[in-house]
Amino acid sequence: MSVLRDIGARDAAIQLRGVGKTFGSNTVLKGVDLDIERSERVCVIGPSGSGKSTLLRCMVFLETYDEGEIYVEGRLLGYSISDGTRKKDSEVQTANVRRNVGMVFQQFNLWPHMTALGNVIAALRIVKGMTRAEAEKIGREALETVGLAHKADAYPDRLSGGQQQRVAIARALAMNPSILLFDEPTSALDPELVGEVLEVMRQLASQGMTMVVVTHEMGFAAEVADRVIFMDGGSIVEAGPPQRLFSKPESPRLAQFLDTWKSRNASGSVSEITG
């Protein structure tokens, strides 16, 4: 697929070193260490308020972090260090460091005054300065990838939630990212629409996209993730391959989290999650 960049070496895509974050007096991230390899698929799970979204947003500096360092493709994100003190980068510098990272939001965040295609090509035109023809070619390919070529001219409010989220994915893909972050991409969707979005994500995963997905879809995590990360109280409590994590949780908190999940999804059992 031509919209995606070929991804080769498995050197680190994103590295977090002792990342801490507080909102006022509320410490939301407590010294998080995490390495995301290239082409790795990482799912982040954990109870509400455990800091999953904050972690993801820090990885692209939509949220500033107070402690530690985050490296995106080897480059320090959000700050520059001179004479041992660190100074916040300008928006332009930050944008440059994270230019290969795309993000998909829970609420889609499509721009309602543009068509599906308009949404997908806006950045190509405005940020990259492409001609309309060039941009539309790439934009239509991206819509094709998510199976929505026929909806190019529809405005977002004429699309179902699942279609909107797929357009949002196409919008991120059009910029040819090597890393895609997803923050609960299916949580705002009606149950019957979840599948179509997960299907697109599976397809991306199979093509070697580096993905970090915050999700409550345990089935998806079990199937697609190379590694699942369980967060609680602002820290990574446990991490590992999904089979191990879901069948033999080491920490009582993860065990309890999985139990709660199972009782809420009465039909689900661990064996079902892990397939």
Binding site: E91, G102, M103, Q107, W111, P112, H113, V127, M175
Partner: protein, 218 residues
């Protein structure tokens, strides 16, 4: 009783006055839009000084009668050696007045745009200015059309006050016609008709724009 003959003879003069009303109102609305957007940006900025400045500006020009603003702008500066003409005082006064309102209109419009829309744009590499221009402005404009339409009608009506400082707009011309024809009721009724037509034209245009800019069903 009612006798419109004298007034009808003066219709061309009134039309000329209406023309002045229209261009002054349009100029004030446009300048007010520019100033209002700047003030709105200041009101939303992270700089506490700018925020305070914009808040005072809004409170002041929404709290002061236009008439008083005009009196101050026209009569006070000469005492400090700054000469004013009725027209500059008028344009400035109307502009400041509508800018105060437009600031609040734009701010309310801005608040209807979910922050996620800007985040999505930032993630794609948009600069702050590009976000303002391509993400916020079109959306703000769309949701604020009804309020802006009302504001435009208000400005047209308020411009009648310029007669006080001798700007020869519609109401001033009507006063002059009254003093030569001695037909106040007839003259002012016709004058009212002119204003009513202008207000109606403005609100119809606003509704037209609103319909045009509402995304059409696919």
């Amino acid at each position: 009783m009612l006798d419109f003959t004298a007034v009808i003879a003066q219709l061309p003069r009134m039309a000329a006055g209406a023309q002045t009303t229209i261009w002054i109102s349009a100029a004030a609305l446009l300048c007010g839009a520019a100033l209002g957007l700047v003030m709105c940006a200041a009101r939303l900025s992270r700089n506490i000084f700018l925020r305070a400045l914009a808040a005072v500006f809004v409170s002041m020009f929404r709290g002061l009668p236009l008439l008083v603003v005009l009196l101050i702008l026209f009569y006070v500066p000469p005492n400090f050696g700054v000469e004013t003409t009725p027209l500059t005082a008028a344009l400035l006064g109307l502009t400041l007045n509508t800018a105060g309102y437009q600031t609040e209109i734009y701010r309310a419009g801005f608040l209807t745009v979910p922050p996620g829309h800007a985040e999505a744009a930032r993630m794609l590499g948009f600069s702050r200015l590009q976000i303002a221009r391509h993400i916020f402005l079109p959306q703000i404009f769309r949701v604020t059309i009804p309020a802006l339409t009302n504001e435009a009608v208000d400005v047209v009506k308020s411009s009648g006050l310029l007669s006080i400082i001798a700007v020869t707009e519609l109401l001033r011309i009507s006063q002059q016609i009254v003093s030569s024809t001695y037909r106040p009721l007839e003259t002012y009724l016709v004058c009212g008709l002119f204003y009513f037509l202008m207000s109606t034209a403005v609100s119809s245009f606003g509704r037209f724009l609103e319909r045009r800019l509402t995304p059409k069903p696919a």
